[in-house]
């Protein structure tokens, strides 16, 4: 009884801590004047919405490129993460410990330091100021998280169902697809989401690797926050969070459909 109350209290607290600032941002985004100490804005306008949709930033294009970039990072990070997780969890090979440790190295180096350092490598490779360069840099930031998520899932799922599929005549690829993949799916989705959100919210690394030529929503958003136009910054935040949530909902929908279909219903 007591534990239940504590749980509900904490849940309410967490919701409050998320919903109040979110609501505030929503209000700010359409506020024209909000002088102190008014609890609500004095007047509202759709100036920011107009600016967002038809202004200099060209939202649709920006959203399109940001989401494509982040999805690419999410998917590639998950592929690398899954291969690494399977290698370390299901196989034995010399240097396995080193691979496991190496996978977490990017977490130890601060992003800014890393972005400065890798700039030189990117220039040398001819990848500076290109989308490929940005994807690469985002990937390095995302992969440790993808690996962590997928290592746990891979360990939990194991290879027993794959073995069973193989003795029943499935080739290794089909055994993976029919045996392990369905059980891995929630983990894979978490990993893609993680990679997506990490890439979606990168600012400094995008700026350094993309040289300002690769435009993302986060890249446009940050200067607005710094410029002091709170209403405009808020509407960009709404667009940022809203688009990310929309993508997550789509993921969930796809996963649901796929799992229903694989059940043959």
């Amino acid at each position: 009884m007591k534990g239940n109350f504590l749980f509900k209290f904490l849940l309410a607290l967490v919701l409050l801590l998320i919903l109040v600032p979110a609501g505030q941002i929503l209000l700010w985004s359409v506020a024209e004047r909000w002088p102190w100490p008014g609890l609500l804005p004095e007047s509202y306008s759709l100036r920011t919405v107009k600016e967002l949709l038809f202004g200099s930033a060209k939202l649709p294009g920006l959203l399109g490129s940001s989401i494509t970039l982040a999805l690419t990072v999410g998917v590639l990070g998950t592929v690398v993460g899954l291969l690494t997780a399977r290698a370390t969890q299901l196989y034995d090979f010399p240097g396995k410990e080193l691979v496991s440790f190496g996978a977490f190295l990017p977490l130890l180096v601060p992003g800014t330091v890393f972005a400065m350092g890798i700039q030189i490598t990117l220039i040398r490779l001819g990848l500076s100021d290109t989308v490929a360069g940005v994807v690469l840099v985002h990937l390095i930031a995302a992969i440790p998280y993808c690996i962590t998520i997928l290592t746990d899932v891979t360990r939990a799922v194991g290879s027993s169902l794959e073995q069973q599929a193989m003795v029943l005549g499935a080739s290794p690829l089909r055994a993976f697809l029919h045996g392990s993949l369905p059980s891995l799916m929630p983990g894979i989705l978490s990993s893609v989401s993680m990679g997506f959100i990490l890439s979606y919210s990168q600012y400094f690394t995008t700026l350094m690797a993309g040289g300002g030529r690769v435009k993302t929503l986060a890249l446009v958003l940050v200067p607005y926050i710094q410029s002091g136009d709170r209403a405009l910054a808020s509407i960009y935040c709404v667009a940022f969070v809203g688009s990310a949530l929309l993508v997550f909902f789509l993921f969930e929908g796809i996963l649901h459909t796929v799992s229903e279909r694989s059940r043959g219903k």
């Binding site: 034995d92 169902l161 080739s171 290794p172 369905p182 043959g264």
Partner: protein
């Protein structure tokens, strides 16, 4: 199909599990691999199925060397102890899975799967998910799925040990029936003595990665080749004695045996004890009623304990001494152990 294993070696890292094992299973035979846990019987099964790579030796199935063939091309189907049904597929799709892998079209494979499900009395469960079935039902589905794969060799890895006693009996009967019906070469891995003796045509006794004896259940039980085999069936009593000029003597006992002279132990089992008349005397140590019978413990003149079940409730009290004798029809002798060690 006939399976021939020659000098098979398997090791995990530095740990040698099978130091070099040879075994032949005839076409259509039902062979049990019986041994304590950790003796390498499951490892042998996995090596046959190709799940574990051997470090040496040769496996031939139907005369063809399959030692290095990929798992999915061998046609060696395993039913594991932990069932391993695909949790996201219906029962029907699980059974149809091997047929799908063989490229059978959807309609025919569903029909075939339904027939196999009927055969294991699971016809009414086609559209359930494995998670909605009991342990026994899941194992039946796993069996149907293995049969649907039309295995060249069926490998059963302790498939009944997770089931309770009554279900286990049902499953044993079902597997025996199915084996008779499909005449499929089958290897059953088990540590359960009764299971191995009652189900198989031959039993291979395995200890420490080596096969000690491969023979009919009767001969494995009555004529064990090694002490370990004898001990595995429990309650052995060894009567020390000496063989001179082809006669084994121990106390008042004298038996003609076809072995050369030396110190030997005679293997005796409690079921050879006959109470009633005879030259020996046995003291009743205790009686424990078990429902269908009463287990009576006797102590003989040498101090050995004999535990034998008697029907009903015998009217013997602990401390009572009864006459009796030990029936020896075909004596089994083992060279004296202590002599080898000293």
């Amino acid at each position: 199909m006939k399976l021939e294993i020659e000098n098979l070696k398997v090791s995990y890292d530095a740990d040698v599990v099978l130091p070099g094992l040879s075994l032949t299973v005839q076409e259509g035979e039902f062979l049990s691999l019986l041994g304590p846990s950790g003796c390498g019987k499951s490892t042998l099964l996995k090596a046959i199925a190709g799940i574990l790579p051997p470090s040496g030796g040769c496996i031939r199935l139907g005369g063809v060397d399959i030692t290095w063939q990929s798992v999915h091309k061998r046609g060696t189907v395993v039913v594991f102890q932990d069932v391993r049904l695909f949790p996201h597929m219906t029962v029907l799709d699980n059974v149809a899975f091997p047929l799908k892998m063989q490229g059978v079209d959807k309609k025919s494979r569903r029909l075939a799967a339904a027939a196999y499900l009927d055969r294991v009395q699971m016809g009414g469960f086609s559209h359930r998910l494995p998670g909605e079935l009991s342990g026994g039902q899941q194992q039946r589905v796993a069996l149907a799925r293995a049969l649907a794969a039309k295995p060249r060799l069926l490998l059963l890895d302790e498939p009944f040990s997770a089931l309770d006693e009554n279900l286990r009996e049902d499953m044993r009967t079902l597997v025996t029936q199915l084996h008779r019906e499909y005449a499929m070469t089958t290897i059953l891995v088990t540590h359960d003595r009764e299971e191995a003796l009652s189900m198989s045509g031959r039993v291979a006794m395995m200890f420490g990665g080596r096969i000690h004896q491969v023979d009919t259940p009767q001969r494995v039980y009555h004529q064990p080749a090694t002490r370990q085999t004898a001990d595995y069936f429990g309650d052995c009593i060894y009567l020390p004695g000496r063989v001179e000029a082809g006669v084994f003597r121990s106390g008042s006992l004298a038996l003609e045996v076809p072995v050369s002279d030396g110190d030997f132990d005679l293997l005796l089992r409690p079921d050879q004890l006959e109470i009633g008349t005879g030259p020996c005397s046995f003291r009743v140590e205790g009686c424990s009623f078990r429902g269908r019978d009463t287990l009576v413990t006797f102590r003989d003149e040498q101090g050995n304990l004999w535990k034998k079940p008697f029907p009903g409730t015998p009217a013997w009290a602990p401390g009572q001494t009864l006459p009796g004798f030990i029936r020896v029809s075909c004596p089994v002798l083992f060279p004296r152990l202590s002599q080898e060690k000293d």
